[in-house]
Symmetry: C2
Subunit: 127 residues, 2 copies
């Protein structure tokens, strides 16, 4: 796979959507650079790029909540990725299964889910 054929943005990044391969739930959206996509394709485990840390982000490295990647798809414009994953534990750093939990309406918003795990349960005493 020649990763230069994909349409990376000016920062060399691309949005990557992680969808639960079993339930279809959209778990999260993160970013990938060439190196993280290469590692993901080679290793079958999701590796993103953290824009805040400007470093590779091996999903679940700290929490153990890794994503086994079943398939990776690019879209028609080759500027977005969809990962079908088996999520071990939870995807969201808040302890929720998925990250999309604010339901928005014209009038306001509400939280649709509550955390399954506390911060300490996810990350131990550290961080």
């Amino acid at each position: 796979m020649n990763l230069d054929t994909l349409a990376w943005n000016a920062d060399g990044l691309m949005p990557a959507i992680a969808q639960d391969a079993s339930t279809g739930e959209v778990l999260m959206m993160a970013w990938m650079n060439r190196e993280s996509l290469r590692l993901t394709l080679e290793q079958g485990v999701a590796v993103y790029f953290s824009r805040s840390r400007q470093a590779l982000w091996r999903k679940g490295e700290t929490s153990g909540h890794t994503q086994t990647v079943k398939s990776v798809q690019a879209d028609c414009d080759r500027d977005a990725l969809l990962l079908l994953v088996h999520q071990h534990g939870v995807a969201c750093h808040t302890g929720r299964r998925g990250c999309f939990y604010f339901q928005l309406d014209a009038d306001g918003e509400r939280e649709m889910t509550t955390p399954q795990l506390t911060h300490e349960q996810m990350y131990g005493g550290g961080e």
Copy 2:
């Protein structure tokens, strides 16, 4: 809904994922600005922002392949949106149901689907 509470990027945009509310298929990823999200929430029909045209993009305005929006969700960081939609016709400008049709592997790629509609069937003689 105070749209200023969301984390728009430096260009005032945010990624928006459209997922088929019935099948769970992730159909496409596009971008929204405040105005397109406000219109989407008020009208219940997907309005994106076209980065290439730098203008509101009323999905399906030309093709008739609109998206009725059942719900809009923001993620934990409030910097990405998930739309659950009823897709009328096809989502992809190539005439495919969804945009994520390039399956990527370490060794190469393959197209997973073929167009259901020709360009002329989608857009008539125009464009």
